[in-house]
Every structure is written in structure tokens, then in C-alpha cells.
């Protein structure tokens, strides 16, 4: 039981330090750039414009017969937002300990908060993207409904899922520097195994199981349910994902905590 609670205790007891690190990271992303925090708005807006153009004017993919092609741009972008956050946090966490060597070797420092702050920072950027997205959706004439209220829950589960993997990857990368390269490759593969830029319905029946065992499918599905379809996310995939998220969260921390005493030797 103590093992199960330990990662939650980290979040509580170091909340102020985590907050400062997140704050720094957000500012660090945009510091010294002329447009500053506006980039958090410009980037998703530009990306959305690009997607709309590609999917409605070039590729002309439709979600279903009779649906408009711009529909699909929204669909793809809605899936892309959580994915970008996952990819960003996991890529960065696979090198965060290597970059913060002085903190780990020379200071009595709770290194477990480093991966956590990357996840939170990525999620904050995602939230700005979501706000932009929501505005575009509303302008295009769709008012969000009650389904939107499930989004915080989905994002919380996503946080636990990401943090667990981030802990695992950051610790492993100390032993095997190759992790950084591997993560880049795996993330590319993972993105295409998730129905982000294609509708799940396009996948032939016999490969469908790949999507079903992919936890990202559940996240992306829940986002679309909340933002585009205004319905409650499907219960079973989400409950399953919740189980996976907490398992990953607890075991990721376990691996991190177990290997932490050797970090200073290896860095």
C-alpha cells in the first residue's frame, strides 16, 4: 500500500517546487521571443489552419458519407492536441535527468519532480490549444455541451499515464543513453497506431485490435466525445484506461525510486 501511495505523496509534498518548475518551464518556452506567450495561441491556430487546408482541399477525407471535409480537420486536430502533449513530455523526460546533472550530483534534490513538471507543462500548453480549438469549434456554429465537463477527468487520467511513463523513461535513460533515440522512433510509430490523422473506421477489421489495445485510442476517443460529439465518453474504454493510467503511474514511480540512489554514480 505504501508503494501505491508514494507517487501521490511526491505530488503533494513537493507541490510548491513542482509549481515553480512548471512556471519556469512555461516561461522558458517563450522567454526572449518577441511574441512571448502569444506563441501558445499562434501555434495551434496555424496548425489547425494547415490541417483544414490539407484535409479539406487536398486529401478530401470524410468522416462519413455526407459529412463535410472540414469536419475531418477538426476531428484530426482534436486528436492531435493530446498527442502533441504526450509526445512532448515523453521526448523531453527521456533526457531531463541528463540535462540536470548538477542538480542530481551536487544538491540534495527531489529529482522525481523533474519528469512531473515536464508533463504538467505539456498539459498546460495543451490547455491553451484546447481553448483555441474550442473557440474555432464554437465559431463554426457548434456549441459545446455537457460532455465538456468530462474533459478535466480525462486530462487527469492522461496526467497519471504520462507521468508514469515519464518516470520510467527518465530513469532508464540514465542507464541507457540510447533511450532518447528509441523514444523518438517509438513515438512516431505510436502516433500512426493511434487514430489521429485517420478515422478508426478506415482501419480494416483484422487490424482493429491494435487500436483497441492502444491506450491512446481511449484518450483520443474521449477528447473527441467531449469536444466534438457532445456525448459522454464510452465508459468501458475509459475505465480500462483509468486502470492502465494508475498502474503505469505507480509502477513508473517504483522504477524511478528504485534506481534513484544510483543516478549520481552514473551521470
Amino acid at each position: 500500500m505504501a508503494t501505491m501511495l508514494a507517487p501521490f505523496r511526491v505530488l503533494v509534498s513537493h507541490r510548491q517546487a513542482i509549481q515553480i518548475f512548471v512556471n519556469r518551464d512555461i516561461r522558458g518556452r517563450y522567454i526572449n521571443s518577441a511574441l512571448g506567450l502569444w506563441w501558445a495561441v499562434i501555434q495551434p491556430l496555424a496548425l489547425l489552419a494547415l490541417y483544414t487546408f490539407v484535409f479539406s482541399s487536398v486529401m478530401k477525407i470524410r468522416l462519413s458519407d455526407g459529412a463535410s471535409t472540414s469536419e475531418f480537420a477538426l476531428y484530426a486536430f482534436c486528436g492531435l492536441l493530446p498527442w502533441i502533449a504526450v509526445a512532448d513530455a515523453l521526448t523531453r523526460s527521456s533526457s531531463v535527468l541528463l540535462e540536470q546533472t548538477p542538480l542530481i550530483k551536487k544538491v540534495v534534490f527531489p529529482s522525481e519532480i523533474l519528469p512531473v513538471h515536464l508533463v504538467l507543462s505539456a498539459l498546460l500548453v495543451e490547455i491553451v490549444g484546447l481553448a483555441v480549438f474550442l473557440m474555432v469549434v464554437m465559431i463554426s456554429g457548434r456549441l459545446p455541451g455537457w460532455g465538456l465537463l468530462t474533459l478535466p477527468l480525462v486530462m487527469a487520467l492522461q496526467f497519471f499515464f504520462m507521468t508514469g511513463i515519464a518516470w520510467f523513461l527518465s530513469a532508464l535513460a540514465v542507464y541507457l543513453r540510447d533511450v532518447r533515440q528509441v523514444v523518438g522512433l517509438v513515438l512516431t510509430l505510436w502516433m500512426f497506431l493511434t487514430p489521429i490523422v485517420y478515422p478508426a473506421s478506415m482501419v480494416p477489421e483484422r487490424y482493429r485490435w491494435v487500436l483497441d489495445i492502444n491506450p491512446m485510442t481511449a484518450i483520443v476517443g474521449a477528447y473527441r466525445a467531449a469536444l466534438l460529439d457532445d456525448r459522454m465518453p464510452a465508459f468501458f474504454p475509459l475505465a480500462l484506461f483509468a486502470g492502465i493510467a494508475f498502474t503505469v503511474f505507480v509502477s513508473g514511480y517504483w522504477v524511478f525510486a528504485r534506481s534513484k540512489p544510483t543516478f549520481a554514480d552514473l551521470l
Binding site: 510548491q16 517546487a17 515553480i20 518548475f21 519556469r24 522558458g28 522567454i31 540536470q100 548538477p102 542538480l103 542530481i104 550530483k105 551536487k106 544538491v107 540534495v108 534534490f109 527531489p110 542507464y175 541507457l176 543513453r177 540510447d178 540512489p261 544510483t262 549520481a264 554514480d265
Partner: protein
């Protein structure tokens, strides 16, 4: 006997050395069933108990395992075998400013440091003025750390580390930084921490420092504890090990110099004095020390003194309230904060006259300083009377000066070289 602050039970530490990173990967992938590394034992079978409130000196040559021991105590590293237990909050000065982010301001960095050390944001902000003043970097606190000079950086980092009120403070040669005044400031703060009950572990090659600051010491040699004793004994063993003692030679004793009466002296206020000593002063403020200076026999103001030269320590005092009776004293301290010489107007039977509000007085203490080379600081105080420890004004670090080695080439073996008559009797 109080509780234990630090307990090491048969602790050993091996570093694994791999020929290449690939070998480490291979070992990891075979789950350690195959060995690809060789061990380097940095510490072997170290057992150590440090009582809460003690100050332990770690002495030893380079590579003897001092830094590894500090890292194990701090918890930055785990031991290979054995057990390490530490009670309380640990602050470490293993490398000053490690973890400071150059893009952010001094204030932001200190804030994060405090929170990482386990204080709340409120506590950290509460201490910010003290940390800022101690570092003496003024408005730079709100500029990015990358714009700091290396001296400012070190002062801020040190200031942050010693103001988080740790239960256990680990210091790795960090005191050898900063200018002279700052070093004196640091020693004073360390003494404060000592009297507040902080346990300190202190690595130094400076035996004078170890003797005066530590309550006990250990000598490490190639990863083993060779001796654990009082600091003086350890310092002697270390000296005997590292250097052959030079035979001391004595020189004849010099005649004392004649004295002449001082010309009338005008009261002066040193601009910037109050700002400079703001942190080091306490007292009622009913009278204030406004200026402290050191003057040579030619009447010039100096800040370096030839060995055994006669100098005047001149203290300018201003009274803000009537004071029928007051005593002015001083103390000259070495770089470890130990009082070397000092006295006061009462002991020397040179009473100060009754003073009214607005009056001033200038007092000269004339004496020779046959002291070892090094830096010294002067503390001065104006007391109400001898029987109770209450002060108009008490100023530490009022003045800092350097003592130059004797021109004759004579070696001063101790802190003070008093006249000695030597008679050699040969059978």
C-alpha cells in the same frame, strides 16, 4: 548525550567502471547475471556516529574519499553496502550554486532553492531580505543570474544555502570562496548555526579552520577512517603525514618601541559604514560607532599591517542620548572567527568621560600586532557597563585587514608570536 544526527554503519561505496557504455547496457540487459564492470572502492567499511549539534571535520588527501562520504551522508548517492541514517533537513554546499538557472533572477533562484530544501514559499520569502543582505548584491537580486560576476554568484549561492536553517549542513571546501570580508561573514554565520544546534560536517584542507570550528574530526586515508579524535589531534596527525615539520628557529627579542603622544584627532563619519555593517550590528542605538580605522606610525590609514608593527585602531563614536558611563572595547579575530587580541577602556583603566546626547568621542587603541600572516577582522562594541551584557552598539566586521609575513623571513608558527627568551644549557 543528545540524539544522533548522522549514523553510518559499516558503509562501503564502490563505483562501477565500465569499459564502454555498451558494456553497461549488456549488463543491464542480462539483468546482472553477467558482469562487465570492475569496482573501484572509494570508501571501505566506514562506521561513524555524529551527535546532533556536533561539528565534524573531514580531513584527508585528495582521493581519500571525503567527497564521496559527503555525498553518501547527503543521500545524493546510495552506499554499495552498509547503512546511512541522517535525522533532519540536510543542506549541502558541495558545489555552490549547482541548480541555479542562469536565465532566471537571483530572487527566483533563491526561492526555488528554499522550496527544494523543504521550506514553504512563505518561509522562503520571509528570509529573502536576510539572504539578499548577506549576499550583498543589492539590486542585482532581481536580475538574471547570468549577468552576475562570479563573486556575486558565489555569495548569493552561499547565502541561500546557509539561511535555509538546515539540521545538518554539509560543506565541501566551499568556504575558500569569496573575498576576505565575505569569508568572515560566513564563519560568523556558521558559528550562529552551531550555537543554534546545527550539525555540521566540514571538509577542509585548512587545519587552522578545522581546529577552530570543529568539535571533532576524522582523518580519511584511501577510503578508510584512519583516526577519529579531537580536531587538534587530527590536525597533528595530518600534518605529520603530509609534511615534514620544518625546524623552528628563534630570533632575538626586539626592544619595545617608544611611544609619543598623539596629536588631537577629529571625529569623522565613514560614508557607507552603516550600510556595510548593517547585518553585523546590534545594540540599542543610543550611541553609534560611526567609523573604525587602522593607522600606522606615520599617521596613514592602512589595511595591511607589517608583522609586529605598532598600529592604532581608531574608533569614532557618536552619542545620541546622554551616557554618564560607557565602555568601548574591541576584538581582533582571525579568519576562523577566533578572538586573537582585544580589550576595552575599562580593563585598561582609561575610562570614557560622561557624554551628552550629540557628543562624540574618538578612542585610539595603540598596540603591536605580532600575529601570523592572514586576514583579520575587527569587532568593536560600546557597552553600558561591565556587569551586564547590554550594548549601545556592537559591530562585527567593522574593519578587515591583512597581516603581512615578517620581512626578516622569520616563520610565525602559531597565531601569535610573543617575545621569547631562550636559554640553551649544554652539559
Amino acid at each position: 548525550m543528545g540524539s544522533l544526527a548522522i549514523e553510518l554503519d559499516r558503509v562501503s561505496k564502490a563505483y562501477r567502471l565500465y569499459p564502454t557504455p555498451r558494456h553497461r547496457a549488456l549488463e543491464l540487459l542480462t539483468f546482472g547475471t553477467r558482469r562487465y564492470h570492475t569496482d573501484f572502492w572509494a570508501l571501505t567499511d566506514v562506521s561513524l556516529r555524529v551527535a546532533a549539534g556536533a561539528t565534524l571535520g573531514l580531513v584527508g588527501n585528495n582521493g581519500s574519499g571525503k567527497s564521496t562520504l559527503l555525498q553518501l551522508i547527503s543521500g545524493i548517492m546510495g552506499p554499495t553496502t552498509g547503512r546511512v541514517a541522517v535525522n533532519g533537513r540536510i543542506s549541502s554546499l558541495l558545489e555552490l550554486g549547482a541548480g541555479f538557472n542562469p536565465e532566471f533572477t537571483g530572487r527566483e533562484n533563491v526561492e526555488l532553492y528554499g522550496i527544494v530544501m523543504g521550506m514553504t514559499r512563505e518561509e522562503t520569502l520571509e528570509r529573502m531580505p536576510v539572504i539578499q543582505a548577506f549576499a550583498g548584491i543589492g539590486d542585482f537580486i532581481d536580475r538574471p543570474v547570468k549577468s552576475y560576476s562570479s563573486g556575486m554568484f558565489v555569495r548569493l549561492a552561499f547565502s541561500a544555502a546557509i539561511h535555509v536553517n538546515p539540521d545538518v549542513l554539509l560543506v565541501d571546501e566551499a568556504l575558500a570562496v569569496g573575498d576576505v570580508l565575505f569569508q568572515h561573514q560566513c564563519i560568523r554565520r556558521i558559528r550562529e548555526l552551531q550555537s543554534a544546534g546545527t550539525t555540521i560536517v566540514f571538509v577542509s584542507h585548512d587545519m587552522g579552520m578545522v581546529r577552530s570550528i570543529c568539535t571533532e574530526a576524522i582523518l580519511l586515508d584511501r577510503g578508510r577512517i584512519e583516526a577519529h579524535d579531537d580536531p587538534a589531534t587530527i590536525a597533528n596527525i595530518y600534518h605529520a603525514k603530509t609534511a615534514s615539520m620544518e625546524a623552528g628557529a628563534s630570533t632575538p627579542v626586539r626592544a619595545s618601541l617608544g611611544t609619543d603622544d598623539a596629536a588631537p584627532v577629529a571625529f569623522r563619519v565613514e560614508p557607507g559604514f552603516d550600510e556595510r555593517v548593517r547585518l553585523f550590528r546590534h545594540g540599542t542605538g543610543a550611541a553609534r560607532i560611526r567609523h573604525v580605522e587602522l593607522i600606522d606610525r606615520q599617521g596613514r590609514q592602512i589595511n595591511s599591517v607589517e608583522f609586529d608593527d605598532e598600529v592604532i585602531l581608531r574608533v569614532h563614536v557618536q552619542y545620541h542620548e546622554d551616557a554618564p558611563f560607557s565602555i568601548l572595547g574591541y576584538s581582533i579575530r582571525d579568519n576562523t572567527g577566533t578572538d586573537i587580541v582585544g580589550t576595552n577602556t575599562h580593563e585598561e583603566k582609561a575610562p570614557l568621560p560622561p557624554r551628552l546626547a550629540g557628543d562624540t568621542v574618538v578612542v585610539d587603541f595603540r598596540q603591536r600586532l605580532p600575529l601570523a600572516k592572514g586576514t583579520y577582522s575587527v569587532s568593536t562594541a560600546l557597552a553600558y557597563d561591565r556587569s551586564r551584557p547590554s550594548y549601545f552598539d556592537w559591530v562585527d566586521n567593522a574593519l578587515v585587514f591583512t597581516l603581512l609575513p615578517p620581512e626578516s623571513g622569520k616563520i610565525v608558527h602559531a597565531k601569535v608570536a610573543l617575545p621569547v627568551h631562550i636559554a640553551v644549557h649544554v652539559q
